[in-house]
Amino acid sequence: MPSLDNMFGIHATALKLREQRMGMIASNIANAATPGYKARDIEFSSALKMAERGQSPETAIQYRIPVQPSLDGNTVELATEQTAFAENALAYRSSLSFLQGRIGTLTRALKGE
């Protein structure tokens, strides 16, 4: 019998991390024209492992290595960021539907249908 704390498994932690990563990629897209800005991202799997051990996932923040850095020192590449954002949004949505399923199961169990 799982306790209420881990009823939602890894997906509660994952959803929080996905939200944080979405903010970071949005920051990169926002700074697409700022001279000297270095794009950053979270290495998701190690951040998730750290979050599960109760550590802050901020140590998993890394600078993105650009394919072709621009002259003004900006390392944001919109194609890369858009792909990462889309991938992250999709993963957020899948975590959300796993949670939805679990909540549905619990509600049915509570109602005794």
């Binding site: 959803l15 944080q20 979405m22 903010g23 970071m24 990629i25 949005a26 920051s27 897209i29 926002a30 700074n31 697409a32 024209a33 700022t34 001279p35 000297g36 800005y37 950053r40 979270i42 901020e58 923040i61 919109l78 858009q82 954002f85 949004a89 957020y92 949505r93 959300l96 949670l99 939805q100 909540i103 509600t107």
Partner: protein, 134 residues
């Protein structure tokens, strides 16, 4: 002191900055081809310089730091029949590179669209999260 930025702050402020950039481009293009009677009063193109605002937890947004004048100088042209010509018969053309401004306009518009897209996706995901369990 790093502030806690929401995704609406990040993309919203970026959109505001891009709008300033679009406005300066519009001013530059509107003044392209204008002439003046002295080098000092001739129009010089404007260019906003962006600066990163760091937030908590690796988040960051952007704001317009200052608006610089371009490095290109107004072009002197000898045209004694021009009503604005000085004693030597010279006028100065505005220092605006129209092609560069058009490129700038396209880039601004694309980056603005990107921020709108980020905002729309984030809004959708947040409202889906709100409906969780219903």
């Amino acid at each position: 002191m790093a502030e806690n930025l929401s995704i609406f702050d990040i993309s919203g402020r970026a959109m505001a900055a891009q709008l300033v950039r679009l406005n300066t481009t519009a001013s530059n293009l509107a003044n392209a081809g204008t002439v003046s009677g002295s080098e000092g009063t001739a129009f010089r193109s404007m260019k906003p310089v962006f600066r990163t605002i760091m937030g908590e937890a690796g988040k960051a947004t952007v704001q317009v730091d200052r608006i610089d004048n371009g490095t290109t100088a107004p072009v002197k042209r000898y045209q004694p029949d021009h009503p604005l010509a000085d004693k030597e018969g010279n006028v100065w053309e505005a220092a605006v590179d129209s092609a560069a401004e058009m490129v700038e306009m396209l880039e601004t518009s694309r980056q603005y669209q990107n921020n709108v897209q980020v905002l729309a996706t984030a809004k959708g995901l947040i409202s889906e999260t709100l409906r969780l369990g219903q």
